[in-house]
Symmetry: C2
Subunit: 427 residues, 2 copies
Amino acid sequence: MWSVQDHLDDILAAVRPLDPIELNLLDAQGCVLVDDITVPLSLPPFDNSSMDGYAVRVTDVAGASEEFPAVLEVVGDVAAGQADPLSVGPGQAARIMTGAPLPPGAETVVPVEWTDGGLGEGPVAGMRARSLAPEGAEGQVHVYRPAEAGAHVRAQGSDVRSGDRALEAGTVLGPPQIALLAAIGRGKVRVRPRPRVVVLSTGSELVQPDEELGPGQIYDSNSFALTAAARDAGAIAYRVGAVADDAETLRSTIEDQLVRADLMVTTGGVSVGAYDVVKEALAHVADEDEPGSGVDFRKLAMQPGKPQGFGSIGPDHTPLLALPGNPVSSYVSFELFVRPAIRTLMGLPDVHRPTVTAVLAAQRPLSSPKGRRQFLRGTYSDGSVTPVGGSGSHLVAALAHADALIVVPEDTESVEPGTEVEVVLLG
Amino acid sequence: MWSVQDHLDDILAAVRPLDPIELNLLDAQGCVLVDDITVPLSLPPFDNSSMDGYAVRVTDVAGASEEFPAVLEVVGDVAAGQADPLSVGPGQAARIMTGAPLPPGAETVVPVEWTDGGLGEGPVAGMRARSLAPEGAEGQVHVYRPAEAGAHVRAQGSDVRSGDRALEAGTVLGPPQIALLAAIGRGKVRVRPRPRVVVLSTGSELVQPDEELGPGQIYDSNSFALTAAARDAGAIAYRVGAVADDAETLRSTIEDQLVRADLMVTTGGVSVGAYDVVKEALAHVADEDEPGSGVDFRKLAMQPGKPQGFGSIGPDHTPLLALPGNPVSSYVSFELFVRPAIRTLMGLPDVHRPTVTAVLAAQRPLSSPKGRRQFLRGTYSDGSVTPVGGSGSHLVAALAHADALIVVPEDTESVEPGTEVEVVLLG
């Protein structure tokens, strides 16, 4: 019997982060940066106005008030993106828009609300739209308040400077990191790609949803659940669906799928039955010339999810996890083993679900098989966890109402209500 | 001046959940179920074995032990998915696989590990693979332990029963809920679709990343950040990119894009400048025959993000949020207003980011403008929050290193280190 930890360690020791590729910025969302990113240009690239107003010299507005406004000659507009800004001499002002470069000669910006906007009728709330006055600003402006040097000016390099470290290798790219990369002009980045995960369920009893169920048949749910779970973990997941219990069919299906798989996940057929084809098909795929190839089937000291397979197949040694077929077993196995494998392939810093300690809220003690780590389904709220459904690994409905796994350690056979237990939060 | 809350309330009062559509199960991941789902068939649909073993009658194995095994006649195999199972008479056993229907006459299952597997050489670890013994089970089996009625049998309906409520309207479909829907045969579900969000930045100063920057120009980062943020919130987001400051171009671009938008987001051009084209282009789009149409521009008592626009445009009254153009202002505005709007369109129960109370860890007091709710960037850890960068709304680098917003209320002008503050966790 393998322990849960040993099996996980074995998987994580074998699975390596995928080779980096260059992706367009928005395609890299959620991925991990491979290189440190250095800022190629200072931000802002030039001194610019943080307000809509007038760019002026400090002395020209010193002491200005509503009673004794400074009256300045307006030399024109400086708009954002304007290539060749005006220059501002003594006694002059340029009407300036937010983000526009501070014109030569100007030392500060007075917001338009501190002026008459050139209209000669006291303080204004804003500028006249250009469409109403296409000639731009001209004539005189009355300024009613003084401004210090650099007021309402965002200095060149006040955000980041050329040569600064923008982001470190290993950063996960969320919206704010994407904002920074775009702002410094990076349209592409080298990241570890999302792994392509192929999900395949096995079992001659499995029927597609929406089809008619014959005697002895059930609907395939594992391939749906694990495809969704793989996407949730960050992967690009392909659902192959159910393959009948025939070793040759299974082997050729897996071989076909290898071309689009960075990781292969199967469910079912891994136990001690005569029709356990995954075990049969994969137990002997090891290439004698390729050390480390092949899939190893083992029993884990856990419940649910005792029978498990792990190894690699095909010319690229694609990792394969063979999970048990009971719906709850396969889902719990996914959470414990496949999700960390996917996140390791992505190079993510944090591959595990968060765990917390919670007080068991239950009517009766929980019982757990000796020598096996048990994962019961529960709902977590505010430091307490309540079991949902029983320990049966076929209880899909209870699973669908749970948001946590209650962990009962190997050496514990009974847990009293009110006791503290470890809980895995399913997010 | 509008308060943050009044502006948000105004948006949420106007934005309605999208009309439901029927989607394939995996396409509905992350979406909200519209109808209560009733279980059409019991799960399991029939009594079936939870182990690989032998289906037997209870009395035939009563008192069995290694010393005095019960010896039964094997009538054949019952595999999962087998349509016409054998029947088990007195003194007989059927070799049965996990998930296979319990054959008529059998009352219990003994695991194969409690038998000699028909080989006559004491307890076995598993069955012989079918490929090695294609004739199936025959001859005799020695059973070494008794089993109670129903042992290792999953009873019909023990998971859910026909007519039970499987999932309630309003449930968000994650992997376990998808598992349950597939298990009860639902290949399609009616959900509220992910909203299509068109993101458009404005500004003649904006240049695409990877292109060369001319004088007075900066890279467009808002359209990248907000497209990523919209996806993160659950939307299907389209980035249009930067439109120059020309009202007619902007108006026609928006009209073009309306066909694929459930929500329109613009950045820039909403303040008091003469070139603020969003305001100019949209302030007068209201159709007099259509009450409620048009975009309203307002000042909010917040920092960053004072100028904001909200309304609806086009024949379908598509909601439009016009955010300010400073990168931090637009991102904070997205978090506060657009994200809840997207999640309302999806019908999600929880539209807001989680907030917590944290102790301010800072060298100096924070200062905040009177009468405005300030949102500073910070990093949250373990009950304490540390400001990152200053309050400038152009500080993109600091934003990229933050994971929280520190909220300073309107009536607070200074926050001492060690004080408790409200923190929005950016997830």
